[in-house]
Symmetry: D2
Subunit: 127 residues, 4 copies
DNA sequence: TTTT
DNA sequence: TTTT
């Protein structure tokens, strides 16, 4: 009924852009997310989390992001499961993003990966 | 730098309580989280997500929750990775919970799984 | 760059539905959100938070919600400010909802307030 | 039952540190949070939101943050209400922070405002 | 102004 | 497989 994930981290590599057979854009990248607290070795553990972005935002991410960039991702947690060739159950966890915000961008380019026009009606509403 | 997950769903089975060799309580259960939107077959897809709760909250969950109960979980996404006997990389995703709220509880028992005393100082602060 | 609010609480009264002069539906209600921890009097403090929902979801909320109902709201925090007749600055805080989920609904009606069709393309994507 | 706010924004001024009569540290600052989408004038609206941090994190914020710094805040929405001298009801909304992460910090100082030792037990747990 |  |  609610499945919400918010991550802030850095891209571990350049994003990959692909298209489905129906022509829908999909962008994949992985985020390195440092834990807030140091472990018993005095180091910060890091979670590496795969992220998938669809459609227009996929193209925006592919065009503007690169390895090492700092982003905030809002989305939902999804765990794809399948049986591999050995017949063992495998899990492929990822975050399917609804919004990606660029956090270390020069000021005049600042923004998110969304369509600037799609929420226009809401903004105009005087109520 | 931020890794935040919020889930609302129902337990797929009774929670399991274990203790580490140091005596720390740990409770595991899985949540069924329905998607908001129906798929092309007119059904709601369901995400099944493993949840781990530590210490005092682990015991509270084990004592009060059961299969089918509705809860809200706040925590972080963690993906444990290891090589299995075939030498293939395996992933074990879960949510490590910081708070669990019971949502379908009779009124006089309502609350979360935390220690009711631990935040007392904050509440008393007159500022 | 990110402004995200997630509330779970009960409606303090029936929702009110209005329309802007352009015909856009807007629904207002207030939520009672109990704190997880008891205060020094042994009671749970309650936050009362106004919520605004726009468009199609506004009508769904108005049609299906009522006083006392349990919902989850995802949205953003907005603080409208203005000068009143005495010339003093006044603040009107609220949550502008992006999604409202009904949590205490009979199972066959379960769901959220959104348009079940609008995300169809994403669901069909085979990637 | 759940009241969760996550903000990413920049401090509009230097943080202020105070102490309650019991000696508890409390730090106040305001965040400017840009909306993702431009309004009908082609500008990005900005939400200005007051933030309060308590105890050890208050001192860390006061010591390390300043006007213009980029932070992520996780906390809860709180609306204090009172009657002013004219007898009118006034509202004072803010976010009471549970965690503050510094996002534009040189690498060797990176981290959050929390106590690095307080979660040590969890990290050591071998389970 | 406030919900179970 | 991993970022600063």
């Amino acid at each position: 009924m609610l499945n919400k994930v918010i991550l802030i981290g850095r891209l571990t590599r350049d994003p990959e852009l692909r298209y489905t057979s129906q022509g829908t854009a999909v962008c994949n990248f992985a985020l390195a997310v440092e834990r807030d607290y140091k472990n018993s070795n005095g180091e910060r553990d890091v979670d590496f989390i795969d992220v998938t972005v669809w459609r227009k935002q996929a193209e925006t991410c592919a065009n503007h992001l690169g390895k090492g960039r700092l982003v905030a991702v809002e989305g939902r947690m999804q765990i794809d499961t399948w049986k591999d060739d050995n017949g063992t159950n495998r899990k492929s966890p990822k975050v399917v993003a609804r919004d990606v915000s660029f956090l270390d961008w020069p000021n005049d380019k600042q923004g998110n990966s969304g369509n600037n026009n799609q929420k226009k009606e809401e903004i105009d509403v005087p109520f």
